[in-house]
């Protein structure tokens, strides 16, 4: 795997993210995606708004989809609530970085797959291909963001007792 640490080329992470967001924003005006409404996030959230909630919901449902080894997936467990609770407790500058990462996830298909679609608009197969590109990216930041978001989702999912029976975990004694 080629590995590009962008800041070794003198590019700061903040600059990279901002540049990517500007470029994806510009590309969004050219493509048909426009600025469509996002579904209202059900519940009280400290960090996620309707848009970021939709992105993380879509993300978590591909990380832990329904079906396969067992029926339940992220959409059956309160994964976004867990994500929100943890990130909501972080300092403001961390939350800002997380928000930037989510925006990049939503708007970067144009660069990674040449698709004029937002992540939340893609089909499941397209989403999986797109997330593979994040997972295997030659850019450390992309891999780091993917892994960080994935970890929050899986931690929320597998610490929920509804799924313990599928993995042979008996739960705590108290």
């Amino acid at each position: 795997m080629n590995n590009y640490d962008i800041w070794k080329f003198g590019i700061r992470r903040r600059t990279f993210i901002k540049s990517m967001l500007v470029l994806t924003g510009a590309a969004a005006t050219v493509g048909p995606s426009g600025c469509a409404d996002y579904p209202k996030a059900e519940g009280n959230f400290a960090f996620l708004d309707d848009k970021t909630h939709a992105v993380i919901k879509s993300f978590s449902e591909r990380i832990i989809p329904r079906g396969g080894a067992f029926e339940e997936g992220a959409e059956d467990i309160e994964v976004t609530g867990f994500f929100d609770r943890l990130v909501g407790a972080e300092p403001p500058e961390i939350q800002k970085n997380m928000r930037s990462g989510i925006m990049l996830l939503e708007h970067a298909p144009i660069f990674l797959m040449f698709k004029f679609k937002r992540f939340t608009q893609m089909t499941d197969d397209e989403k999986d291909l797109y997330l593979k590109k994040w997972e295997e990216s030659g850019v450390t930041l992309f891999r780091g963001v993917f892994k960080g978001f994935k970890n929050l989702c899986t931690l929320g999912f597998f610490s929920n007792e509804k799924v313990w029976k599928y993995i042979g975990y008996d739960g705590p004694p108290i």
């Binding site: 990380i63 989809p65 080894a69 960080g148 970890n151 008996d170």
Partner: protein
């Protein structure tokens, strides 16, 4: 007494002989020793107080409540520290490992630290071990996960042994990392802290220290903020005037506070020389059900690959058992989607080996524009080579012990069925954010030594730049003190307490 923020509505102003920032292992030692020495003591602890039924053994509640989870700037290494009364002692795996004699020799010869010989330190280790009720783990107490490692080690003809640990009456439930609700793990909340309280010490929990005010070369007071226990929001201020101030906030928070406070630092080394002891995990997948999460999580190790170098101190790596609960394991299992779910269903048939690498002082802690710590660390070629070797050796041991498959924690799945495939580790190497790497034993950012030009604190752990300001946590270690640094940190804290009490006239009049 333990003072909770629920009961505080007005700004707090206190005075004491000693103010200690941080109630982890080192801070607890100082609190007890100073209080039992007849001094008035106030401790500020940013985290909350958890004991008994408040430790509910559920990851979704306890991980956010008890841990301070951070990442290096490039997101490649996850750092975990305790943020609660008792600090790391509440959430660790209760291993008690002394500093190897050769490491003290390096500290003396290379760094010029005085009175740090094994002979001089023995009484401090003895004292800590007595209070912590340290004893060796029995063969019968090795759980299935650690027995897998033991089997592999013995078949391979390597050296290995059971850990010494600080538990008493342990019922081997396996939830050490989420705090022991039974009080069997001898965290400092079971011994040092109650003794300190009995001698009059006051512990403010949910109290964050924000700055140390220094007048010339003398530290005068600690100013901080009382936080709401539920929301973490700022409530009111707290100010503690003290004749002696002790920093025990940990290797990241201590330099953060010293830098924010602009403590005079001739060496320029506050925040430098960060040691992470990075580790990764390798998993074996077995046909039989192991339920590796049950029992004492970490009870066996092999030291076959570690040695003390005259220049670098502890080098090489250690392999140890250390299985955890499903939420935490889920964050190291590779891939996503249906393949990932399939792997997770193997949870009860997994065993793991933790590969702990002894690195050098290769990182730094600095401040961002908000005054919060930025952690930068780049693994050296030597550390990477050691980690690769550790992963390969772990895989070999797991196959030797009967694993049908071995899973590395590369994010792109690397699950192999035969030892001949272990070379995948050479192909993939160690790239940032491609492999799960973590750190628990963080040290080095306020190095000790006699020379103010090349150290932050002197041999007694007093700041060169501010008399009556001491640092007693893991940040003082010039090289890694041990494979598990709780006990060495506590021994050093006992030593500094001894120094202060012997010279009490100088500090307290």
């Amino acid at each position: 007494m333990i003072i909770k923020s629920d009961n505080i509505v007005n700004n707090v102003v206190e005075s004491a002989d000693v103010c200690i920032v941080g109630s982890g292992p080192a801070g607890s030692v100082m609190a007890m020793e100073m209080a039992e020495g007849g001094l008035s003591v106030i401790v500020l602890e940013e985290g909350g107080h958890f004991s008994g039924s408040r430790l509910n053994m559920r990851e979704e509640d306890m991980l956010p409540a008890l841990y301070n989870q951070r990442f290096t700037k490039d997101l490649s290494i996850a750092l975990s520290q305790g943020k609660c009364l008792g600090g790391g002692s509440l959430i660790n795996m209760a291993d008690s490992v002394r500093t190897p004699d050769g490491v003290f020799a390096v500290w003396e010869k290379k760094f010029g630290v005085k009175d740090i010989s094994p002979g001089a330190m023995k009484k401090y280790f003895d004292r800590a071990e007595t209070i912590l009720k340290t004893k060796k783990i029995e063969e019968a107490e090795l759980n299935s996960n650690n027995l897998v490692l033991k089997k592999g080690v013995e078949k391979a003809g390597y050296t290995g042994d059971a850990f010494y640990h600080n538990r008493e009456g342990c019922i081997e439930c396996g939830y050490c990392l989420l705090g022991c609700p039974y009080g069997h793990k001898q965290a400092t909340t079971e011994n040092y802290i109650p003794r300190a309280i009995e001698s009059g010490a006051k512990f403010y929990v949910n109290a964050r220290a924000d700055k140390i005010l220094v007048d010339g070369e003398r530290a005068e007071k600690v100013v901080g903020t009382i936080l709401d226990g539920k929301t973490g929001m700022d409530k009111v201020s707290i100010e503690v005037n003290a004749k002696v101030i002790v920093m025990a906030a940990g290797t990241i928070n201590t330099p953060q506070l010293l830098l924010k406070s602009k403590i005079p630092d001739e060496s320029g080394l506050i925040g430098k020389n960060l040691i992470l002891q990075p580790y990764t995990m390798v998993f074996g997948l077995f046909d039989e059900e192991l339920k590796s999460y049950k029992g004492i999580p970490q009870s066996y190790y092999t030291d076959n690959y570690e040695e003390v170098d005259e220049d670098r101190g502890l080098t090489g790596f250690r392999l140890e058992g250390g299985f955890t609960l499903p939420g935490q394991v889920s964050t190291v299992v590779p891939g996503f989607g249906e393949g990932y779910k399939e792997l997770m269903t193997k949870y009860s048939r997994m065993a793991n080996i933790m590969a702990l690498v002894f690195d050098g002082p290769d990182g730094t802690v600095s401040l961002n524009r908000f005054g919060r710590p930025v952690i930068e660390y780049e693994m050296t070629d030597q550390t990477k080579a050691d980690m690769v070797r550790a992963m390969k050796e772990s895989a070999n041991l797991l196959f030797t012990a009967g694993a049908k498959k071995v899973m590395f924690t590369y994010e792109i799945p690397a699950v192999i069925s035969d030892p001949s495939e272990i070379s995948i580790v050479d192909e993939r190497g160690i790239e940032p954010c491609s492999l799960t790497i973590m750190s628990f034993h963080i040290q080095g950012t306020c190095r000790m030594g006699p020379d103010p030009a090349s150290s932050v604190v002197d041999s007694s752990l007093e700041c060169h730049g501010a008399k009556n300001l001491f640092v007693v946590d893991g940040s003082v270690s010039p090289t890694t003190s041990s494979s598990h640094n709780m006990l060495p940190t506590m021994a050093l804290s006992h030593r500094t307490a001894d120094y202060i009490l012997t010279n009490r006239g100088r500090y307290f009049g």
